[in-house]
């Protein structure tokens, strides 16, 4: 079976710091994969490369047959908007927008009208149990509510792959498990592939497979079996 996402010998440097040194992995469609490793190991950088946010200095990133590292910025932006969904540790919500507007604005960037986008956003907030937060701004929400709104934003356009960078890192263990349960449950229901970055083994245990990154390279990556 052809992997949905693939990284081959990916290297990235920030100035003199080498964040990734020839990392390779493959992820199948519908898989839930955790990329784990200690702080500074390069796992977030690897996720940013897979999501087309960063372009590697060397190596290949493939989504299906498409080489992400060869696409221009506009094409990668379109891909992120239409095919990928992204959740960050800090939520990444726009502080001036209400919860429903934060979800809707993403859909509006995808070409949806404001009324349809708001209706779809409200529907997703409801599915994730935060529809009562719709008129509130991120500053008025708890950490768990912020992450649920961020997940609604990442899922609302029906992405094929969701990238989550330490999505529970800013939450206590109970809220973290709730948020993760919702994300993975929704992803499984829709057959969405999830790539999850975490340094927490308990969180990694929720995934179908764990990929460990150490010193900028993949230390252990079982062969894709599906």
């Amino acid at each position: 079976m052809t992997p949905l996402l693939q990284a081959r010998d990916v290297s990235v440097s920030f100035g003199r710091t080498r964040a990734l040194r020839g990392a390779s992995l493959a992820i199948g469609a519908g898989e839930i994969v955790a990329i784990s490793g200690p702080s500074g190991s390069g796992k977030s950088t690897l996720l940013h490369c897979l999501a087309g946010i960063l372009v590697p200095d060397d190596g290949e990133i493939r989504y299906g047959e498409t080489r992400l590292d060869e696409l221009d910025e506009d094409s990668r932006t379109r891909l992120r908007r239409e095919v990928f969904g992204i959740v960050f540790q800090f939520g990444g919500l726009v502080p001036e927008l209400t919860a429903v507007e934060n979800v809707a604005v993403s859909l509006m960037f995808g070409g949806l009208g404001r009324a349809e986008a708001a209706a779809a956003a409200l529907d997703w907030l409801g599915r994730l149990g935060v529809d009562d937060c719709a008129p509130l701004r991120p500053g008025d929400l708890s950490g768990g509510q912020v992450q649920r709104v961020a997940m609604a934003r990442a899922l609302a356009h029906g992405p094929k792959v969701v990238f989550a960078d330490e999505p529970t890192g800013a939450l206590d263990s109970v809220a973290g498990e709730e948020v993760l349960g919702l994300l993975l449950g929704t992803a499984r229901d829709h057959g969405t592939t999830v790539v999850l970055v975490t340094h927490d083994n308990r969180i990694a245990a929720y995934a179908d497979r764990e990929i460990v990154v150490r010193d900028g390279a993949v230390a252990a990556s079982p062969v894709v079996t599906r």
Partner: protein, 451 residues
């Protein structure tokens, strides 16, 4: 506070000044330039007020005529207003950007008061350097100008030594006060620096002075009494205060309206960003609106001068040309300084929203759309405020325009007012477009990295 403690604070401020980043050095240069400009204008105003009797200078009627000198001095002093707005804005950015240093100082045992005083000590250093540069520039510039123009009695026109220290002290004190005022909105804890929770929305009552001033100005045109000039002055002062104080509220209402009707994500983002903090942009836009106000008023004066004729033929009246030329030059300068403050405001806004911008870009929002959003922010804020500035000046200076319309007058004054609004809005938009490099940097993926 003991003398030793003050010395220590100045020593720490000096150490901090040596170990700063390129951005902070740039901000400090802006502060020095602002203090130098303020000193230059205030020395010019003081100098004019101290010249006695009618002079022989034919190169500037506003200086030669004894009765016109106070007005010219006031105009020069008013040029300090946009400079102060710029200094305030730069000061806010400096406070927000110093977070690591200030937090580190708190960890090292400095109290919140010490941190505030450090800010003042730094402002005093920067203000003193700026005031010195401004003074040297003014004195040297004046000597050079008098030599070039062949002015004989230089002692009569040169600024005497005694007001110089007073002006310098005024500028340095203003720099320290601006720093103190700015630091009220920043909370420095040992672990981080944060802006105080957002302040309440600007009150609708802030536009009361404008609502009172306008009818008074219009009424003064119809009252045939000796005191109608005082009435006009009172109305004009109230209108000016109203524009300055009410700009943030006008921007808030404009943003609410734009947010309600927004059909694109760019407009929605722009409107909501303005709604969340109308005060920061309001300060800059108030100065831009005042430029439009004075520019429109100058347009009405220009019409009166041209209508009475003779200024191109009669050498006696040629000073009007010089005066109008100087006024337009001063207005352009004020507009330039005000829109420069807008760049600084953008830098400050991006310091706070950089991460969410980067997250939006990572989630697929095109950076070009984010740029368009900042441009719309400027248009939503600038257009109504500038239009109010122009309308206020038209109502005040040319009520006849609305009561007994005369086509050439309407064409000139209204056309001039529209031109002033368009110029100000275009300048603000152009500066925003230029500052979009900052946005591209803020939306870079490196800002997504966890701290």
């Amino acid at each position: 506070m003991t003398g030793g403690r003050t010395r220590d604070l100045f020593a720490v401020a000096g150490m901090l000044a040596r170990g700063t980043s390129r951005g902070e050095r740039r901000r400090r240069r802006l502060l020095v330039s602002g203090a130098a400009l303020a000193t230059f204008f205030l020395l010019g105003a003081a100098n004019l007020l101290l010249i006695r009797g009618t002079t022989q200078t034919e190169w500037a009627g506003l200086v030669a005529e004894e009765g016109l000198r106070p007005g010219t001095a006031l105009a020069l002093a008013l040029l300090v207003v946009p400079v102060l707005a710029l200094l305030h804005q730069v000061g806010r950015v400096a406070q927000a950007a110093q977070e690591r240093r200030l937090a580190a100082l708190r960890l090292a045992g400095a109290t919140p008061r010490d941190v505030r005083l450090l800010g003042v000590a730094e402002a005093l250093r920067v203000g003193t350097v700026g005031a010195l540069i401004g003074t040297v520039g003014y004195v040297a510039g004046q000597q050079a100008a008098m030599a070039a123009l062949g002015v004989g009695d230089t002692g009569r026109y040169a600024i005497p030594p005694w007001p110089v220290p007073a002006v310098m002290a005024l500028v340095v004190a203003a720099a320290a006060l601006v720093s103190l005022r700015v630091s009220r909105h920043v909370v420095v804890s040992p672990l981080s620096v944060a802006r105080r929770a957002s302040r309440p929305a600007p009150s609708p009552y802030t536009i009361i002075p404008l609502a009172l001033g306008l009818p008074i100005v219009v009424a003064s045109a119809f009252i045939d009494a000796a005191w109608n000039l005082w009435l006009l002055a009172l109305g004009a002062v109230l209108a000016i205060v109203g524009i300055a104080a009410g700009a943030a509220r006008v921007i808030l209402e404009s943003a609410r309206l734009a947010g309600r009707w927004a059909r694109t994500p760019e407009t929605l983002l722009a409107a909501r960003a303005l709604e969340a903090d109308p005060r920061a942009g309001g300060r800059t836009m108030a100065v831009v609106a005042l430029v439009v106000f004075f520019g429109t008023a100058t347009g009405v004066v220009t019409w009166d001068v041209v209508r009475t004729g003779g200024i191109f033929d009669d050498p006696e009246d040629r000073f009007w040309l010089v005066s109008l030329g100087l006024t337009y030059g001063a207005l352009l300068f004020a507009l330039l300084v005000a829109v420069t403050a807008l760049v600084v405001h953008r830098a400050e806004a991006l310091l706070e929203s950089g991460r969410s911008m980067a997250a939006l870009a990572a989630a697929g929002a095109p950076v070009a759309s984010l740029r368009r959003s900042t441009l719309r922010q400027t248009l939503i804020a600038a257009t109504p405020v500038c239009a109010i500035g122009a309308l206020t000046a038209l109502l005040g200076m040319a009520p006849g325009l609305f009561l007994t319309p005369d086509l050439p007058m309407v064409a000139w004054t209204a056309g001039h007012a529209l031109f002033m609004v368009a110029l100000a809005v275009a300048a603000a938009a152009a500066v925003t477009a230029l500052s979009n490099r900052l946005l591209t940097r803020a939306a870079a993926p490196v800002n997504l990295r966890a701290e």
